[in-house]
């Protein structure tokens, strides 16, 4: 498999949020505004690349039977380290990322990529896979959070769009709105995909 394909898989064809439906908990929780979506996406990407590289380096040393336990220890250590370093040296960034950093530990995309990819592939490819999946996750979060922020708060990136004339639908920023928006976006994506596939089939036949 070529590097560019590894990247494309994470970004589009096997997008962690819209296709694999991984990491739903942080996805639904933080996508209430575009700023949050981007912050969560980028910090998860950084951890994903780091954990993929470490696990790929250690893949021959970790016995099969305890791999999951070992991955969890490694991921949790990496996240805690990043949090300590940010708090000590970049306090402003740490306070704006806030709860996102500890939330990354429970993001199952990271464990899923460790298990499905980094444990079987070379370091370079694993880093690329982390980058692709991370950016795919970030992109998906940005789409969902932009829709939710515009409809639910009447703002985008904290800039007021409307609100004096039409009352924004605050249900969209609450938990049910997360499910509704995610469901509709996945439905639209599947409809587009279905059309593409039937067209491709028609051309062949």
């Amino acid at each position: 498999m070529k590097g560019i394909e590894v990247l494309k898989r994470g970004l589009i064809t096997e997008n962690p949020t819209f296709v694999q439906l991984l990491g739903m908990c942080p996805t639904l929780a933080v996508t209430t505004s575009l700023k949050n979506g981007l912050g969560m996406g980028l910090s998860a990407t950084a951890v994903l690349i780091a954990s993929n590289v470490i696990i790929s380096l250690l893949r021959k040393l970790i016995p099969d039977k305890i791999r999951i336990a070992a991955y969890i220890v490694i991921i949790a250590t990496a996240v805690t380290l990043i949090q300590m370093i940010l708090n000590a040296y970049l306090p402003d960034l740490a306070s704006s990322l806030g709860i996102f950093i500890p939330l990354i530990v429970v993001n199952c995309i990271i464990l899923a990529r460790a298990e499905a990819f980094a444990s079987k592939n070379t370091v370079g490819k694993s880093a690329l896979d982390g980058l692709g999946m991370g950016l795919g996750f970030t992109g998906a979060l940005c789409i969902i959070s932009a829709v939710r922020e515009i409809l639910g708060s009447g703002t985008i990136w904290n800039i007021q769009l409307y609100g004096d004339v039409i009352q924004p639908a605050s249900i969209i920023t609450l938990a049910p709105g997360g499910f509704i928006v995610l469901g509709i976006i996945i439905g639209v994506i599947n409809a587009i995909k279905g059309r593409h596939e039937s067209k491709a089939a028609g051309e062949r036949g």
């Binding site: 929780a29 933080v30 209430t32 505004s33 949050n36 040393l61 970790i62 016995p63 039977k65 305890i66 336990a69 070992a70 220890v73 490694i74 949790a76 250590t77 805690t80 380290l81 300590m84 370093i85 708090n87 000590a88 040296y89 306090p91 306070s95 806030g98 709860i99 996102f100 500890p102 605050s170 920023t173 609450l174």
Partner: protein
């Protein structure tokens, strides 16, 4: 049949991974803990100047009750103008730590959120000035309502009643602690 040797080998490897991770974390903690404490102290000081703009120095005093974390007497030109109280109350996802300024008449001069782990977009909106500024000028036993706040009440953040109650509870604790401290100082 269970291979005892294999179990020990696997267990030992997991032990080594966990031990190395804890060593690394312990070392990192030792290096970063003083820096983090320094940052927290700086942040508290910066927040105190925001909630008590009249004061120029803050002197830490002994806690009068277990309800609060830290207490500072705020002075302007050597004269006591009020008290700043750092205290915590449990919110939706854990402790919400605030600093509240209370003047010598028991009125709140300002409130700032020092740390919290509330839901981004909902409870985290407690950081916004539109919420925090509601506390200015309020006195003991502030109430929380969903809308149309009365004289000594504040409007809750929509979708985050628990966080709003936590911040208000902490401010109320700060007001009563401030009264005790002012009595002692004067």
């Amino acid at each position: 049949m269970i291979n005892v040797k294999e179990i020990f080998r696997v267990g030992l490897i997991l032990f080594i991974i966990a031990a190395l991770s804890s060593l690394l974390l312990a070392y990192a903690n030792q290096v970063t803990a003083p820096l983090i404490e320094e940052n927290t102290r700086k942040k508290t000081e910066a927040s105190m100047s925001v909630v008590m703009p009249d004061a120029d120095t803050f002197e830490q005093v002994e806690n009068t009750s277990d309800d609060i974390v830290e207490a500072y007497v705020a002075k302007a030109g050597g004269e006591t103008v009020g008290v700043c109280i750092v205290c915590e109350e449990n919110g939706y996802n854990g402790a919400v730590r605030i600093v509240a300024g209370v003047d010598d008449e028991g009125k709140v001069t300002g409130v700032d959120i020092l740390s919290h782990s509330e839901t981004p977009g909902l409870g985290a909106n407690a950081e916004k000035d539109s919420f925090k500024d509601q506390f200015k000028g309020k006195t003991a036993d502030i109430g929380v309502v969903k809308s149309n706040a009365g004289a000594n009440e504040i409007n809750a953040i929509s979708g985050a009643t628990i966080t709003s109650r936590a911040v208000t509870g902490a401010v109320n604790k700060a007001i009563s602690a401030a009264a005790d401290i002012l009595e002692e100082v004067q």
